[in-house]
Symmetry: C2
Subunit: 588 residues, 2 copies
């Protein structure tokens, strides 16, 4: 058996445990891992030089496919370059398998190159960390490697999914001789059965009693991938039971006549009386983090008497609104379907569909405000006569959201794009799947993540991104070929524009120099280097005429750079805030 | 007192403890720290969006100034983006003060944005990690902050210098009101006296006895900043005591008629008889890591009976050559000066200058091989008739090294440039200061590091860098203005060329796809975006005529892109290896 056979077998284990894709950054210490996956007949391998980008690409691939993706890098600072994506994967619950080559530990602190403390390097930001042995002669060592790989791949997918680190110390020689051919396996795959959490009947009936004792119930949906079955049951709960369903774009709660998606607008500057009229008795939440501060602040300042949070299993008490009373281990979809069935059956037994009138009145209050918020936004986006054609970030995003191809994928970069997109929303008929790195909400890997997603779907993947996030992560594009179904829309206002929009920094004399940091870059050269089809646009009319072609499928990825003016963006946002203030002033 | 006064005072503490420079990446959570340093009358602040680059720039500034530089970033994945530079600073012994803004810890795992486990984030790769309190009302909290800053700044500079992490949880509001002006201090500065390690007379005499018992003594110098006094005493020890002084370009051991700088050449493929004739009885080492594998392998395979390592204080046993016998806490310069004085006095007492003949014979063997290696390299670089004008990486580096302006600074990027530069060497008369990130030898921040160095000196800073390292780190340039004294020389062979040069990967069918990863990029667009003066060159003659102007001072940073062919580079390297083989074959 070749010395490195246990390392070669890792590729086969990945494959047999369901991993199909690997992202590799070149290195010599990692060569045995690289060769093992490169020569494997069924693994798809993508190579990227910048480990930071590489790991965000893997993150995007895993988000899109909902399967773990393996990442291979060499020893030393290379490993730390994975960390920004690892921490996003950890808090964003995305499965990744990190295979980091290492020098054998006895070389640490011996002034040898590329040798750092890699064991447990990611600290609390991986689900578990393994350190493989550097020598394989004892059968227990081979048993340990095989068992660890089995466990790690399974663990990465168990709720909450996340990154798992396998550190792989490797001794020389790393390279097979010319006449040495690889053979894989046999490997031992350990199947892990899955089970659904099931509440005891007493627990369930206790919850039902709490529900019945509550007059004003809200379901709020945090970040979740798009799930038509979930959307269907949420609609029923709202339509038939009269529960307001509150959600955001990152939760894939799209705009329709039922869901409440404008909270960021109508909860801003809300007066106390209106707020009290919206305060729930029972708040039921599913999903991960919420995007908008206004919703979070409202639910903290006007807390529900009871707050249930439903998630597939319990590992931590997540008390986002500082009022959690009950943590329910359940699959949200299964829980809501059973809840609706039981409530519906009770309504049938009681023979009345009308006793929910008070509840429907509560729903109506939320829905009315949601419609009024829509008109406020329309008013904000309605240009004055002389500005008909002015392109602002927000007006651009509105137009883009309306024209997104049906059933396509939308990636929203952090900072302003995800906020503008949430203010605009996508309509239900478009059936758009929305993704964003909201685990830790960094701007550092948004372009790489979207590129990774595009590698795993035939649908068009559109990324809305600001200039700081774009240039920060442009190494994503330094790896041919860029998938042809990627559409990048760059909102270039030549600054970290969010600092002008939010309250605090916009008042400081240091705004421009220390926060916005204008750079004067356009993306033309970056697009040329990366061989993207590039278009630049600075008017709303032109944008409208460009988009249909931009969204056509084709053989080349495209980049559309929108040049906007930060003053105009700021004025529009200030006008929006004034409209909201006027709305509540007139109301009182 | 404003609530955030203890945070404002941090800026004053930095200044009073001798820190003059801060690198800031924009963020909102970090705004109180940013404003504190931005408004301070004496701190120089540079702003860079990409935290990875920002921290490498700070590293370069600290390397150049030999003083700690402070780094400020916001919470979340931003902090992890510092890590590649932090680990280089740790193993490269460069002082950095990392001020990372954080959310108060109670918000961890509460689905709040940009909230990760920042306490102790850098693990074993900082000298110490502090976590400041989020509330300052109790006087002990303010005492803790002031005392911690004092300790941290001192600690970063104590041998071995390195990064220190101060995590700063901050509550809202972050921003002063419009009418609020900052006032700094008074702050309490705690002076820390310094002391030199002094060996007891018995210890010293014991060492002298060991020296006298040794016939064949070598002094080998690992990475060190340039120090004329050290070079002078090393020359005396070689000239007058007859000790071979072996060094590399990263140790700032320049070429002259005395020092042994060609070990990478003449120790490659050395026969056993010659190797034994070079084997020392006593090896004395100073400095950090050694660059070349051939030297390290030789000293491991032909170990000295005694190996002394001299460093200012002892924290770990660094046994690079697996033969360490004595670890000596001393300043290398002071130790060597005292050693020479004592040896010289003994020679005077004994009245003979000739009893070192055997020792001089040993020196002669090393120096003869060094001269023979020089001829081997000259032969390699001597072009055949049809290749007179062919530009290869190596021939380019040779020409550049010869023409470097006197007393300028040379930065060597990792992978091939530092190796080629070491093969060529710099001559003593040039008085070049050489730097390279050899703490962990990553390619990830070489451009940023050189840019940071250029910010801290009026001398010209020339960076030799390959294409993968250059594009990897091009965000260094996304921050105007690029200092005008920076000269970037890019060896663009369109690949991770080292994989073709080293033995293992060059034999694999996967070489190009999985290791070299050709990208087709030139730097023209990157240079245009960054407003650098750009020149491209693909012949040796042209390079020779360009360099005098390129090295002229001016108002704009310059980038010279050298287009070389990876096959030609490989052929030249293979020819070099053949010359070495022929040399030892003929010798036997």
């Amino acid at each position: 058996m070749p010395v490195l056979q246990p390392i070669v077998n890792i590729a086969e284990l990945l494959y047999q445990k369901g991993i199909t894709d690997v992202v590799v950054s070149p290195g010599s210490r990692s060569a045995p891992l690289t060769l093992a996956v490169a020569r494997h007949p069924h693994l798809r391998v993508r190579v990227m030089a910048d480990e930071r980008s590489a790991c965000f690409v893997a993150l995007g691939m895993a988000q899109q496919s909902r399967r773990p993706v393996a990442v291979i890098c060499t020893s030393g600072s290379a490993v730390y370059n994975l960390a920004p994506a690892v921490v996003e994967a950890f808090f964003g619950q995305t499965p990744l398998l990190l295979l980091t080559a290492d020098r054998p530990h006895e070389w640490l602190h011996q002034q040898d190159g590329q040798t750092i403390n890699q064991v447990g390097l990611f600290g609390a930001h991986v689900k578990r960390s393994y350190d493989l042995p550097p020598d394989y002669s004892h059968p227990d060592a081979r048993w340990f490697i095989e068992r660890s790989l089995n466990e790690a791949i399974t663990l990465s997918q168990l709720y909450p999914a996340g990154p798992v680190h396998i550190n792989v110390p490797l001794r020389e020689p790393f390279y097979p001789t010319a006449d040495e051919s690889f053979s894989y396996g046999p490997v031992r795959v350990i199947d892990v059965c899955t089970a659904q959490p099931t509440l005891a009947p007493d627990t369930w009936h206790g919850l039902l009693r709490q529900w019945e004792q509550s007059d004003r119930i809200i379901i709020a949906v945090g970040q979740l991938p798009r799930d038509p079955a979930l959307l269907a049951i949420l609609r029923k709960l709202s339509d038939e039971i009269g529960v307001p369903v509150v959600g955001e774009i990152v939760g894939n709660i799209s705009r329709n006549d039922v869901f409440i998606t404008r909270t960021d607008t109508f909860l801003a500057g809300i007066d106390e009386q209106t707020a009290q009229s919206l305060q729930p008795d029972l708040l039921l939440t599913i999903g991960n983090s919420f995007l908008t501060r206004n919703l979070k602040t409202f639910l903290r300042q006007y807390p529900a008497r009871r707050h249930w949070h439903i998630q597939p299993s319990i590992d931590r008490i997540n008390d986002s609104f500082q009022s959690l009373t009950t943590l329910i281990p359940a699959e949200p979809l299964a829980f809501l379907e059973k809840l609706f069935a039981d409530l519906d059956y009770q309504r049938f037994l009681q023979g009345d569909d009308d006793d929910d009138s008070d509840s429907h009145a509560f729903l109506n209050r939320w829905q009315t405000l949601d419609r009024q918020a829509t008109r406020l936004i329309e008013k904000t986006l309605m240009p004055s006569a002389e500005q008909t054609n002015q392109l602002t970030d927000w007006s651009a995003v509105q137009l883009i959201m309306e024209q997104l191809p049906e059933k396509s994928v939308l990636h929203l970069a952090n900072s302003m794009p995800v906020r503008y997109a949430n203010l605009c929303g996508v309509s239900e008929r478009q059936q758009i799947s929305v993704s964003a790195n909201r685990g830790v909400s960094g701007i550092d890997g948004c372009l790489s993540t979207a590129l990774g997603a595009a590698l795993m779907t035939d649908q068009l993947v559109t990324l809305l991104i600001g200039d700081v996030a774009f240039f920060y992560d442009r190494n994503a594009l330094w790896s041919a070929p860029v998938p042809p179904n990627l559409r990048i829309i760059l909102l270039n206002n030549d600054s970290g524009h969010i600092f002008r929009i939010i309250d605090g920094p916009s008042r400081q004399p240091e705004l421009e120099t220390y926060f916005e940091t204008p750079h004067g870059y356009t993306a033309r050269n970056t697009a040329e280097d990366a061989k993207l089809l590039y278009t630049v646009c600075d008017s709303l009319d032109t944008l409208g005429s460009l988009l249909p072609d931009f969204f056509q499928p084709g053989n080349t990825a495209r980049l559309l750079e929108l040049t906007t003016d930060k003053q105009a963006n700021q004025e529009q946002f200030l006008a929006y805030k004034a409209h909201i203030r006027a709305f509540y002033d007139n109301k009182i």
